[in-house]
Symmetry: C3
Subunit: 309 residues, 3 copies
């Protein structure tokens, strides 16, 4: 039995298998509509995350399966002092696979050690969110037709953004990648990722503070939110925030084939006027998230063998 706790648990080959399966699901929805008939997914969300939860639930339903679970800790037995291990042990009696979101880093890992069914980490604190990374990868693959030979810009809060860290790790395994790291000084990529991931893999990269200066050279732009509470003082925040808002004027400097990604939810870091631009991929990215979760559920349940993509 396998779990998915950290995006790097998957080899490049396993990622490719999931992306190929996801694409086949997209192309042949009918073929997969009863694959999980009689199976149940439990969504154990110890902190709310509507989009992620609904994406998992839609994924399971489109495979013909059922869904049960809870959407916040207050409605769980954890308030009675039950350990995550016990909760998972019991939910194993009710479901064939579990998607767990937890506010504590490492909780899904602990859970996987007690569970009798596969656990998918649906986000643990600031740590990992592997199905978001898979959604990001499927989006790049579908938009660009490839995962290698491209320049990817990451813009905004590169210090705390777990989706940025995971995607950098995942993309570092492909050929011909270059990273442009666009952030204020206060929110630069942590050293351990820069040295242990990017430099160790000999990936060329630049650190830059201006989105306008960088955008023209990018194949992919991965936007994230710059949160006010990350700054030491209001003045710095006000000075910097507009720099990292993508609007039509900045987009005018970009290539015609740029792909703009965002893990969502966004607040104001991408102007609504950008939504109708064909380069805006973030809503398609949400849709891809559903399909890659379908592929993952099938894979962890061992159901992909009968459905050769």
């Amino acid at each position: 039995m396998r779990h998915l706790i950290d995006p790097m648990d998957l080899s490049v080959e396993e990622v490719d298998h999931l992306l190929v399966l996801a694409q086949d699901i997209i192309d042949n929805k009918e073929k997969y509509s009863e694959v999980c008939k009689g199976k149940k997914l439990a969504t154990l969300f110890f902190e709310p995350s509507t989009r992620t939860r609904l994406s998992f639930e839609a994924a399971m339903m489109e495979l013909g399966g059922n869904v049960l679970g809870f959407s916040s800790a207050s409605s769980s037995s954890s308030t009675k002092g039950e350990s995550v291990g016990d909760t998972v042990k019991i939910v194993s009696c009710y479901a064939d696979i579990i998607a767990m979101r937890h506010y504590k880093e490492g909780a899904p890992m602990l859970a996987s050690m007690k569970s009798d069914v596969p656990i998918i980490n649906a986000g643990d604190g600031g740590h990992n969110h592997p199905t978001q990374t898979l959604a990001d990868l499927l989006t790049i693959k579908r938009e660009k037709g490839r995962l290698n030979n491209m320049t990817i810009g990451f813009c905004g809060d590169l210090m705390f953004g777990r989706t940025v860290h995971s995607l950098i790790k995942a993309m570092s395994r492909y050929e011909g990648i270059k990273f442009i790291l666009i952030s204020p000084d206060e929110l630069k990529l942590p050293d351990y990722i820069r040295t242990e991931v990017i430099e160790k893999n000999n990936i060329p990269y630049e650190e830059i503070s201006s989105l306008e200066d960088a955008i023209g050279s990018l194949d992919v732009l991965y936007m994230t939110r710059v949160q006010k509470e990350r700054f030491f003082n209001e003045a710095d925040y006000i000075r910097l925030k507009d720099t990292y808002i993508l609007d039509k004027s900045k987009l005018a400097l970009a290539r015609p084939d740029l792909s703009i990604l965002h893990p969502l939810p966004r607040v104001n870091e991408i102007s609504v006027e950008v939504d109708d631009d064909p380069r805006a991929c973030y809503f398609r990215q949400a849709l891809n998230g559903k399909y890659v979760r379908m592929a993952l559920i099938m894979d962890l349940l061992g159901l992909d063998k009968d459905f050769k993509a």
Copy 2:
């Protein structure tokens, strides 16, 4: 693609079509039990409303479809600052149709402008609640055999009751209607509805403060709650509240073929002793709500064409 935001979005012909379809569903449940197979309804309830939510969910399930969603704002991404437009755009990736309840008037209208799938307004603040109006209309139709030529009394809080306003608008389009507006002075029907809807359509009406005086002339009595907090002082409330409680003694003055409706939940404005009277229609009204929602879901998904009623 169509939405249902305001009950008056529907023409008399469209209402009639929905009511005929609902009746056919009631008469031939089996025929419709797989109509929505593989389809998903999202119930996006930014404020709780258990009855309305469960009614939509039961409706979708009885059509063979699936349901996902949330039942209060606290479990939604809106707490992270996401706009309703973005939420709906993303949920469009997960569901084929959306029922949205929101505490802000106009939110479902805004949502419909961003959505890729049909939106049903399941209540927006004190504004509209079109599926309640459809449930009211189906109930009158089934109980009376007609929607024209009748005297309808509205009793209680006619100032703030959105279901009253909507049903008055909807019934004003039929022939031979007369309204009796029964309320304390403090809670009379707003002028704009009296003049712009009733008078403009030349509908005869009376305003009266005594339920006992009015009840004998009614074909339909639509009860609503008189809330204490609407009154300027406690004394007025105490003086008036019993006047608007329907009990057996007041019911003794009514016609044998009266139909009593109430949008529910009730608190004490209809005495429990009335529940077993055959003239009490309010629980059948709740059941009709489910059937008319089934008809509406089919209609908005374009599935009613193959099921000619």
Copy 3:
């Protein structure tokens, strides 16, 4: 139409029928996978209880049925002042059977008087929790191969533990039963159960304060939690609490064929080191809870007649 409010509503013959049906479901899952197709279970949980709710939901899904409902009072119409009777009357329009959890003792009984569909009490305050008792009975039956001729120890809080009271009542109806009541003086079994149930049925029993002294003579050990807040002073609690924690050293004194039950959730009254011992039945007990709920749902819906076990 029948309801299940109190575990003693069921005769010994009816309990046996449910346990036989549950065992047949376990042995022939496929045979039952569509029994409830087109049926709906409503889970009306006025207080949260994740394990119980998910167990009911999984049960209905494994019978091929659908589930709707709410998981806490805050998301129900009861906040608008609606009576439980009205809620149930309306939910009868949406579902074929209702599982109700309520913080008020007697609420499910009241509900059953208004409901048009079967009500299952899923726990009402400190009162009854009949499906837990059925899960306990199925577990004893499966682990021991019988429900008679055995010595059952109840350990911990015997004063307030409703599952203990119900299981004592249920087991008092079988032959050759002996009870060992293991608790601190402060948490002894209430007199009315000792005299009205145990003594009236001439069941031999002992009251003892040491788990270590008692464990060697037991066929079944039913553990419960000793809650700090039950004690008059901290000193008593600290003195006593370890006495009622089951760990490997105490288990070394037990018979090789002991069966350890616990209604869960546990906090620390059973050490995690015991979990892997084959005598630990509490996770299998959770699984049995699902199966016996499947049998109960079938029985109350009158669907067990066509599926002769």
